[in-house]
């Protein structure tokens, strides 16, 4: 449990400061370690000015909310300072010589263009800025001839059983041409297809598969990356390609493991003086990478390595500090991401099929990342209504969202029934009331667990037949497990929190209880026949990763096994041997990143002050759904969530302000 910073503790840590400690302890996200740092730090100060301390408390708050720095003209800070009759914070801090303020003869703070940093973050940020620039501008990665690219890209794309659109081809070509490139797009925009084609072209261009590394920030995401390559290749089918099997055998790993992280020593095996031995490195789900990890990664990339980032800039950023992918993407106001010259090159490589690469050229001055970023906007898979509304969310347009969303009448709690099903985004705006939410979950249970599925039997019925059956030894074929798993994977309740009536804990409790009584089984809260669970910790020896979903079956009296699906097959372990887990009839939006379901139920929290009611979470939650989403929550909460954008401040600048560059570049 995290230790709580109390008013008492604050007062005691900062004697002689007359701040509104109650307000500070309630409104700011403070953690013990930072407070202790500040306490020790301020005790070294010559003069005790409350303005600096206040700013530092806000800085701690900002850091705990994921920012790297505090804008010293921050509105909330100014407002609160005013209420305490402290004026001129900005001036005061600007005047201070922060280098003189030391703790154990080390500088603690850095002020850089109106941004106040802890030295550590500033250092990391500057390092990343520098290293990434170096990597891009001084690349020695192999440059493929345009002819070769043209030839192989054509063959590969031509052999696909489906068509690629202009954006996708542009992304593919960009990543082939450039030593560093980013492909950003929401779910269903074809990132996997691009990745697959890229790998195939690279192999044809003569790159050894062994020299290509695939990685993702979490074990779960890495697993998914591996799986989607495998599935993607299966869809394409055997094309007589010799390299096909090689690519199929590729597997992705976590960035940590790729870097050779060792918990015993702080240093990775691969670092600035021992580069990763790859020619190409592809990172998926870059939005989940935090600043520190990104630094470690970039340091370990040699100038001879081609680096490709895939991700969705609008998804939830990493839990730690920084919103790296968003920082790498151009800010609002850029009319195009490519120069005219680069577009011409692309066009030359892709004259056939009459397909136009739709991108506009930029009217602005070329930046570091110009010509290196592709944004995919057309989602193939996504249900159009969901696509449209998630775009509204992304833009924070609550008004049109509410206009267009499919509103459910007061006492309707379901968009699913045996006969019809309303696809797209629906909203049940009933006031949150204990009975209402219980009714909602009850209909969900009735439909997805007790109701007849496409397979002709309900989840309950199918699971029931598996009790006391020794799967894999006698009788039951894995097919029935496969059906059950497809049911499990087709739907999910995604929540904002663990606690509270609409949190995972209580929903899981409800559904678990109903399930137990309809199956007629006994058992513990989270260990009973038919329970769906999610692993909370990685266990490399078992091959289980944080986020893996398992099914608990009672294979003999009081003997419980947990089944996991892996690459079409099933593994099972004794319930006593698996890492920590929790029930997973419902999970948080955070945990759902990287997964997709046909049907999603998204209950909001009614705590309007919660920072979790945010645009990114709603966007991420909604875009997990392929067919239908039902949002449950009051209008107030929904509006609040759409409007509330999580701001993470940083000083990373890969794109200069469009206004300025426009005038200077002309």
């Amino acid at each position: 449990m995290r230790p709580i910073v109390t008013v008492n503790y604050l007062q005691q840590s900062f004697p002689g400061y007359d701040l509104d400690w109650l307000w500070v302890s309630e409104k700011l996200q403070l953690d013990l370690a930072h407070i202790q740092l500040l306490r020790d730090f301020q005790s070294q100060w010559q003069q005790h000015d409350p303005r600096l301390l206040l700013a530092l408390l806000f800085l701690v708050d900002a850091v705990n909310r994921g920012s790297l720095c505090l804008l010293i003209n921050d509105d909330d800070l100014q407002k609160h300072a005013c209420s305490l009759q402290l004026t001129g914070i900005e001036k005061h801090i600007n005047k201070l010589d922060l280098r003189e303020l030391k703790l154990s003869s080390r500088t603690v703070l850095v002020l850089d263009q109106g941004r106040l940093y802890f030295q550590k973050h500033h250092f990391q940020e500057a390092l990343l800025q520098k290293d990434l620039s170096t990597l891009i501008t001084q690349s020695e990665a192999e440059v493929f001839s345009h002819d070769a690219i043209k030839k192989h890209a054509n063959t590969v794309v031509g052999s696909l059983p489906y068509q690629l659109d202009g954006q996708q081809i542009q992304a593919l070509l960009t990543s082939l041409l450039q030593p560093f490139s980013i492909v950003s797009g929401g779910p269903g925009t074809g990132k996997t297809t691009i990745l697959l084609s890229l790998l195939r072209v690279l192999v044809r261009l003569g790159v050894d598969v062994k020299k290509i590394a695939l990685a993702a920030p979490t074990g779960r995401a890495a697993n998914r990356m591996t799986e989607s390559i495998e599935n993607g290749l299966t869809v394409i089918g055997e094309t007589g390609d010799l390299t096909f099997e090689d690519i199929k055998a590729m597997s992705s790993t976590t960035i940590h493991r790729m870097l050779g992280a060792n918990p015993q020593s702080r240093k990775n095996r691969f670092h600035a003086n021992n580069w990763l031995p790859y020619e190409v490195v592809v990172i998926d789900e870059v939005s989940m990478v935090d600043l520190e990890l990104m630094n470690q990664l970039i340091q370990a990339i040699s100038a001879r390595t081609k680096l490709i980032f895939l991700g969705d800039q609008f998804q939830l950023p990493s839990v730690q500090s920084g919103a790296l992918l968003a920082d790498l993407m151009p800010p609002v106001g850029y009319d195009g991401l490519n120069t005219l010259a680069f577009l011409a090159t692309l066009q030359k490589l892709w004259p056939i099929n009459g397909q136009s690469l739709s991108s506009q050229s930029t009217t602005q001055k070329a930046q570091l990342l110009t010509d290196r970023v592709t944004v995919l906007q057309v989602s193939k898979r996504c249900q159009p209504h969901i696509a449209m509304l998630s775009e509204q969310v992304r833009q924070g347009d609550a008004g049109s969202f509410l206009n267009k969303v499919n509103k459910l009448a007061g006492d309707v709690y379901s968009i699913w029934s045996q006969e019809t099903q309303i696809d797209g985004v629906s909203w049940q705006g009933h006031k949150d009331h204990q009975n209402n939410s219980k009714k909602l979950y009850q209909t969900w249970f009735a439909h997805f667990y007790a109701g007849v599925s496409a397979a002709g039997l309900s989840y309950v019925e199918m699971v029931q037949t598996l009790r006391y059956r020794q799967i894999g030894r006698v009788g039951v074929k894995p097919e029935s497990l496969a059906v059950i798993f497809s049911l499990i994977k087709s739907q999910r309740i995604l929540t904002l929190t663990h606690r509270g009536r609409n949190g995972t804990e209580s929903i899981n409790g409800l559904i678990g209880g109903w399930l137990k009584s309809s199956l007629g089984v006994e058992g513990m809260d989270d260990c009973f026949h038919g329970a769906i669970i999610m692993i909370k910790r990685n266990d490399a020896t078992l091959g289980l990763y944080n986020g893996d979903i398992g099914l608990v079956l009672e294979v003999a009296v009081n003997q419980f096994q947990v089944f996991f699906e892996s690459a079409g097959n099933f593994q099972c372990f004794s319930i006593h041997l698996i890492p920590d887990y929790r029930l997973a009839f419902a999970m948080t939006v955070h945990k759902s990143q990287g997964s997709e379901f046909n049907h999603v139920l998204l209950p909001l929290t009614e705590n309007l002050e919660s920072p979790l009611l945010s645009r990114e979470i709603i966007y991420t939650g909604m875009t997990r759904a392929k067919k239908s989403v039902l949002i449950f929550g009051s209008e107030k909460a929904l509006k609040q969530a759409i409007i509330n954008k999580t701001v993470r401040n940083s000083g990373l600048t890969f794109w200069s302000d469009p206004e300025n560059s426009c005038t200077s570049g002309a």
């Binding site: 008492n8 899981n508 009584s517 007629g520 009296v557 319930i575 041997l577 920590d580």
Partner: protein
Amino acid sequence: MQVIEKPTEIKLDRHAVIEASAGTGKTYTITHLVLRLLLEKQLTISQILLVTFTDKATSELKARIHEGIGDKLTEQGLSSAEKRLLEHALRDLHLASIHTIHGFCQRVLKEYAFEQGSVLDKSLVDDSTVFIKQLQMLKRTWPAIEGISEKLSNTELSTQQLDDLLIDLAKKVKPGDVIYPESAEMALLKANQQMEQFNTTALEDIEADFKSLEGLSAKVLENRWRDKLMFVVNEINALKESGLILEQLIAVFPMLKKTAKAVINTSDIKKQPALKKLAGAPLFKAYFDQLKLLLNQFEVAIIAENYQFVIAMVEALQQRVKQHKVSQGQISYDDMIGDLAAALKVESGSENQALTNRLRDKYRVALIDEFQDTDAQQWSIFQHVFTAHKGEHQLVLIGDPKQSIYGFRGANIYTYEEAKSYLMTNAQQGLGYRLSTNFRSLPALTDKLNQFFTYQSEQQTSWYESEEVMVFSPPKSKQEEAGGPLLLADDSGLSELNSITVVEEGLLVDGLKQQISIQIGRVIQQQLMGQMSFKRKGSEKTLDAGDICILVRNKKDAKPIEHVLDRLQIPHSFYKKTDLYQSEAAIQIQLVLTALAFPNMKKQVNNAWLSLFFEINTAQIRHLSQQQGLINDDEALSQFLSIWLKLKSLSKQQDWVALFNVLFEETGAVKRLYATGKWRMLANLQQIKQELLKVSLDQQLDAHGMLHLLLSSRSSQLISKEDWQQKDTEIPAVQIMTIHSSKGLEFPVVFLFGGFSAPAHNHKFCKYYDSSITAQVFNLVDNQTKLYLAEVEAENKRLYYVAMTRAIFKLIVPVYNESIYQAHNNAYVFYQNQVVARLLESGMANPIKQLTQDSVLASEEQKPLIKKIPLLNISEDLVNKSRIIHSFSSLQRYRTEDKTHFGNSPQMDLAQADDVKTEPVSTIDQIPSIPGGAQTGNVLHGIFENLDFNLVSEHKNLNEFQKDQSVMSVIENQMKVFLMNDGDILDDAGVLRSSYSKEFAAWVWHTLRKPINAIGGRQLCELEDADRRHEMSFYWSQSGHVLTGFIDLLFKLKGPAGDEYFILDWKSNFNAGGYAPDSLADQVMKAHNYHDQYRWYTLAIKAWFNSLRLKNAKLVGSLYLFSRGIDSISGNQDGVFYEDLTTDEYSLTHLETQLIKNIQSIGDEQKGLL
């Protein structure tokens, strides 16, 4: 000091100091004084403050006063006024202020929080943990200190040593105490003075003297004089010339010290005993000693410089700890005293004396027991409150300076002396008394001890003045009147004071301990056990192991003794609670609790699985993980898995009583331990369990909480508040204990053991009282100062005084001469130089004849070995039914409104079934029905527990009821849980009549629909949900006996005078003789001991109601419902057994005495087996 015989001689209107030597009836005196205060001074009991040293003493004193008042009331010739006074006192005894010093301070701080201006409710913390944590915090600030690394390295302490030193000092140094070295400048100045005095001239004679030394060759001596001694002397001269400068001194000192050491060192002396003490060269010796002193002073100066940092940090740490505790609203035992003393001190200087006044108003007389163990702070409290206004209050201090042995804990004999002389000043006019009649020991032993403590000769000085220590035995008639001690028969051949020795020569310390242990063991086995009978406190007894005590100096000394006693199969136990948590048993429980707190950490779980509770091995665990948890071919393993699952489930439900029951009993661990004779382990397990349970019930702990509780008990340095005297098992066992913990106890036979070697010089500082500055000194530099050594010697005397006075009939002391054992390097060993030498010289101890191996063998053949003790069984029913209650809210633990549990019933336990022993079916002539057995009983219980009673009342008839899906699903579910298949029931003609599940429904229907006369013709199905508690667990404990269990149903009905409660048990037994209430009572109830069962239920419930102080709650009756025999329509009460519990037979006291008698009779039976 006035020597008195009776407490009546004490004047009640003056302050008093009463010195009570060991065994002189201190408690009796206090009790008597209280009675006199009540009667003669007409005080109320609440006006008297009684402060004791331990909780145990507190409760003992309370009991004695209770008894004393009771006895007095039966005396003839009391006036009615006096009678009234005593009756009131008896009535108000629970209001009496009888506290430990901590308890007193805590109460005052709490009750008078307002007057004292502090937070109301402080939580109690263990200082050790706070100090450790705060030291870590403090150390975080160190990097900011200028030159910190140099400061740290100068202390020459490792990190761990420094931590320990800081914490130790910060804990012990109280306001007013002094830490030496005080300042570096002073030390340097002193060194300089001494250096000036150091004579470096006229060396010729000294040189000649040195060179005449025998044992070393002339050449060696020559070299040593020239290279070593002269080097040192020259260096000192150089220092003298330049004037003493610290830096310079630091630079040369290490070399100086080394060289000086090489002149004559211990290894020379070892090789050449002739060199001992340099006897041959007095001139040189004097010179060399002077040199050593000077070097010492140099060192002090250097250390003083180096230790300034330590001293500064001690203060910083103390401040931090104080601040931390204040800010967190915490208080430690030490703080309670400190806070109160401080609060009173503040008041004494101010106008507003609210707290002082409240205390002065409340109490008229304060009696402080064990005052020799007090410290300055405690004294300041009593002094301030009770001596300010002459005549208004009386302060009575009772103690024995000879028994002050808690110096290590902060007690301070000088405070005692100071307080004593203060009270006896002219201003205070207090009187001093000395109790001198010993009631404890046999007169012959008393005489011997008198002799011993006052013995003096040319070699030996007397330990105590005779008036301080001499005690007299009461006349024989009085002794008999007091009930002993009297020796009735004695075939031991031992005298009252005996010496024991060994024949081996040239032993080292471990060998000595081992040999003496063997002798002790043999004496116990051959000469003591069963060889004496005596009368004590009015009852007669033959001596058994439980009457013998072996007193050791420290825990380590107990090991060889325990080993020998094990080998000789003499039961024994080490008396110390803290040891309990260091035992293997605690580790084993910790393993399991860790795994339950972290059920998904493989390593922890593996460790738990390998603990002694489970009989599985690593191969099986490997097998398990290879098989992914599906085990069909290994029955033991699959059984283990379901037990583990059950443990996890119980841990989640926080049902710790059931959990420990499964862990100890169901796993077979207890039986295995019994079978292998591991009683010690068993007893420790049980004891830890009980302690954990007690706290967990109070605090509703989850698995993490339990683990934390155990870990903190394991690491806590807190001296147990409760003195533990619970024996390891029910068998009488030789008590092994440290002298410190023996205080206040007495034993028929006492052995001394240990103290044979000098304590290691590893203490980080010495603590002593310097009367020249009237302050406690903590000396970090010099660990051999005279004051300190004298204090250690005095404390040692007191320690052995306490040890030797524990004996009632016989005291046995190890004695050896130098050829047997000589303490290493002739270091000063108190035991050898004071106790052994004294006994050898005076010959006052009677030597015990050496016992040889042969005689042991011979006696082993003659005497049967101690038999294995069978399991202690109170009643199988009760043992099998094991759950717990503590508060009313926790009774709802299994109820379904608890957020997420739907249709969730606790895992039923096959062993819990009540009707395991069902009569053979063949003898029963009746309609075919569900077969009997545990399974049926379990299902029936399950149904009643999970069924919505409303369903019964909703339906008009049985037929409809049997068709209700929700009813049948409960029944089917329960049958599934207990693996019971549905079966057909045929009638006599072989036609299908019903099925098991339908039959169950019928039973339930009839049982719940039956109008029961005992509850006014009401039906059970009318009971509201809120009025029923299923699977009620209970817990009862009294004088060390614990009873736990659970009751099928406790329900309440509204009665005219409040809630009426009923106990109910569901039964599925057959009874061949029919189900009429009378035949049930005579046959089934008797056969299965159900009559006992509800008696114990009643006991537990009534005790519980009592403790909750539930108003108008009354346990009215007990119902046993035999479902097979109940017909709801018939007019009779067949199948219903009812017992009225409001009669005297079921009163709490009656039941309690009955149960304890019951338990004792089982104990006696076992003794019979010996």
